[in-house]
Symmetry: C2
Subunit: 196 residues, 2 copies
DNA sequence: ACGGCTAGCAAGCACCCACTTGCACACATT
DNA sequence: AATGTGTGCAAGTGGGTGCTTGCTAGCCGT
């Protein structure tokens, strides 16, 4: 017989996918079982209840993706930030349905907040650390909080990734070069000494 | 007997509120009827089906809020943009639950997209128009697309407004001055000639 | 060969869902 | 007085939902 890890893993993957598309209420144990090709009873034998199944599935899904890291010592600011932002944006795009659904479910299941928030938060602090180092090295001349432009970049990457498919006409900027433009805005706002 | 307009209006308001909090599946005709203090049958007599009820309620709700406009001729750039951004942010905050829910429901009900997208889009084009005029007047010196910083500002106002309550620790910037900081980032990136 | 583990299947329980039907009551207009 | 309109109430239909129970069958290590 197949190992139990396989079944449990399949169930979590299927559950995460259905949850992303249909939300908490739409993720019925019958649908999960059918999509996973197992009996509905098996779902309850593994997880005990729908609530446990969903929470484990969401946590498992958010543990899958790993966020990009910026170099310890800033090199080519623009190139490194663009690459970082591209990776960030790619993650958001890949998980847009999950992000949208989690945002909506926070209202009824606020305990989901921290699982989905830890990764992006760490990434943002990484960017703050990176840019602080760059400014300490005299390569960013603008004064003021370094958090503001970082928050703006993160929010933009999230928003554009999340709404990209559902209302593509909402962004007047063509997709591929948009991220470079956003990074340029940030760098110019922070007084980058190297002009592109 | 009370006029029919009253009942229908109450039903739409109640439905919009419940939908924002519980989503499409969570908005049951029983719950709506109970919250509105009417019989469930009355709901069907007014709207015919749950689908019609929800679509009319959402459209009615999104027709309620009116978005800010920037002056036809740019005056004090920073003051006008801050005031505009504050008003924008206030709308998003007031309707955060509805926005989150709509974002999630787009997956299953894509026809909701344009009702919730028209307002913000018009506001963004207004901002582009305003800043283009300011640049034509020689008050913004940076070259490049004017859309990028506007998109970033819009995305930031949306994101911060939408996630503000659910993960307040996510924004490292204190609430009230954050918007001014964001506007300053935009202005500096665009090469505003007036320093604050 | 045997016990434990994992799974399938069939059936059922109590509840919620959207939606319908039939009847009665109060009011407003005519 | 008659009519129409908006509403309430009681009941019911067919289906979905979370979850349980009892029973069977295959695979595993011992």
């Amino acid at each position: 017989m197949e190992t139990t890890a396989d079944t449990k893993c399949t169930l979590m993957a299927v559950t995460a996918r259905i949850f992303a598309a249909m939300g908490w209420r739409g993720t019925t144990t019958r649908r999960v079982a059918e999509a996973a090709g197992v009996n509905e009873v098996t779902v309850f034998r593994h997880f005990g209840s729908k609530e446990v199944l969903l929470k484990e599935a969401i946590a498992w899904s958010s543990a899958q993706d790993q966020f990009p890291r910026l170099p310890a010592v800033p090199g080519d600011l623009r190139a490194e930030l663009v690459s970082w932002a591209r990776a960030m944006h790619a993650i958001v795009v890949r998980k847009r349905a999950m992000i949208r659904t989690c945002l909506a479910e926070f209202e009824e299941h606020p305990e989901l907040a921290h699982v989905a928030c830890d990764g992006p938060m760490a990434a943002m602090q990484d960017a703050v650390r990176y840019l602080t180092a760059a400014r300490a090295a005299g390569r960013l001349t603008a004064p003021g909080a370094i958090e503001a432009p970082v928050v703006m970049l993160m929010d933009t990457l999230f928003m554009e990734g999340v709404i990209g498919d559902v209302m593509p006409e909402c962004s007047p900027i063509a997709g591929d070069q948009a991220i470079e433009l956003f990074v340029d805005v940030v760098l110019r706002a922070m007084g980058a000494t190297e002009e592109r």
